[in-house]
Symmetry: C2
DNA sequence: CGCGTGATTGAAACCCTTCAAGTTTAGTGG
DNA sequence: CCACTAAACTTGAAGGGTTTCAATCACGCG
């Protein structure tokens, strides 16, 4: 759990004394590729810190199609914040795209950390605000941009994910079909567009 | 500022003693229809509580098209949270759809209220989480639903706004053209769909 | 009354989807 | 390690939904 420790110490700025108390509260779990961490209708009891590997969260619509809300690779946290916070059934699923090692963060962990550390409270506040900012940008993109623009935005924002995530999942994240993404990529290749 | 007072006392659960201190810190402003409260590139110094009237926040893309992110009628707060929190230039605009009376809420107000009242901190936390939940639902809709479904969702969620907001702005909120929305409505009328 | 803004309608164009087939890639068991 | 199979990706053609552009209609306000 090297990454998680580093994460707590640097991002959340947890002091050594507080740190020892907190670190006991978390649990590590190894997940195989394809394994489901949260199913629709369940209450999301944990946030998942990705120590190594790759997760995704997604919804399934009436016609059975998946729509990916988030990818999470190393040092990202994947969760359904609403479900956790309001203690209500989630309408999304979380599963592993690669074999993954996660750190389970419970609500109790968040609460205790918030109580004993003002820097953790601060960090948590920033995390929420970041989440809102990120979602707002995505909404704006979905409202205003074509498939091609959205894809270019994706590969510049997440060059690492572009290589690790199957194409059809990227398509799902962008809100288009795999076929469309394939054609978009072909177009970009013709125009001599290169990632990186 | 009846609405704002009620809002503070009930939603944020501010006690009478704390209340007197806080209420002095806010400012009231009357805005004419069409007047701009926040322009692109500015830092969003205030959140706007709508005492009476109707605001919207929106972006303007490269081709000059507007994309509406949020409407706010009575008892709603319109703002660019990211810009306020991170003290960075906003890429959105806020203006008045109707003659509007707003209560200006500064960052200092938020900070002071957070310091003196735990119930305010609590309320603020809930507000952030609500915002995230709401945005997540909207992203999911944009990823998965047709224009017709998105419109039906809108009129059931916001029946009051449906009457007060010009149709072309609803179209902008939904991510479609005014012409398309007009045709969607025609289709729904044929199918005998009635709001309410 | 006349002007301007918003809503509607039509026709053509465009983007994206769907369905179907083919190709490539990756994983699995012999 | 190869052969087989399933999954992922590509490609084509047809269709659907949405946009664009242009014209018309409806309405409120000066």
């Amino acid at each position: 759990m090297q990454n998680f420790i580093k994460y707590l110490k640097t991002k959340a700025n947890i002091a050594e004394s507080e740190f020892q108390l907190l670190i006991k509260k978390v649990e590590i779990r190894n997940i195989e590729k394809g394994q489901v961490l949260l199913g629709p209708g369940e209450i999301c009891k944990h946030s998942f810190f990705v120590e190594k590997g790759l997760l995704r969260s997604y919804t399934i619509d009436n016609s059975g199609k998946e729509h990916i809300l988030q990818f999470g690779s190393e040092n990202w946290i994947v969760s359904d914040r609403s479900s956790t916070f309001f203690n209500e059934p989630s309408d999304l699923s979380i599963d592993a795209i690669e074999d993954t090692q996660v750190v389970l963060i419970s609500s109790e962990f968040i609460n205790e950390a918030s109580e004993i550390s003002s820097s953790f409270r601060n960090y948590n506040q920033i995390a929420l605000q970041n989440h809102i900012r990120h979602q707002q940008k995505r909404i704006n993109l979905l409202l205003s941009a074509t498939a091609e623009t959205r894809y270019m935005n994706f590969i510049t924002l997440y060059p690492d994910l572009t290589l690790r995530v199957p194409q059809w999942m990227i398509a799902s994240y962008l809100g288009i079909t795999p076929e469309s993404l394939s054609r978009v990529r072909k177009e970009l290749a013709l125009k001599n567009f290169k990632p990186n």
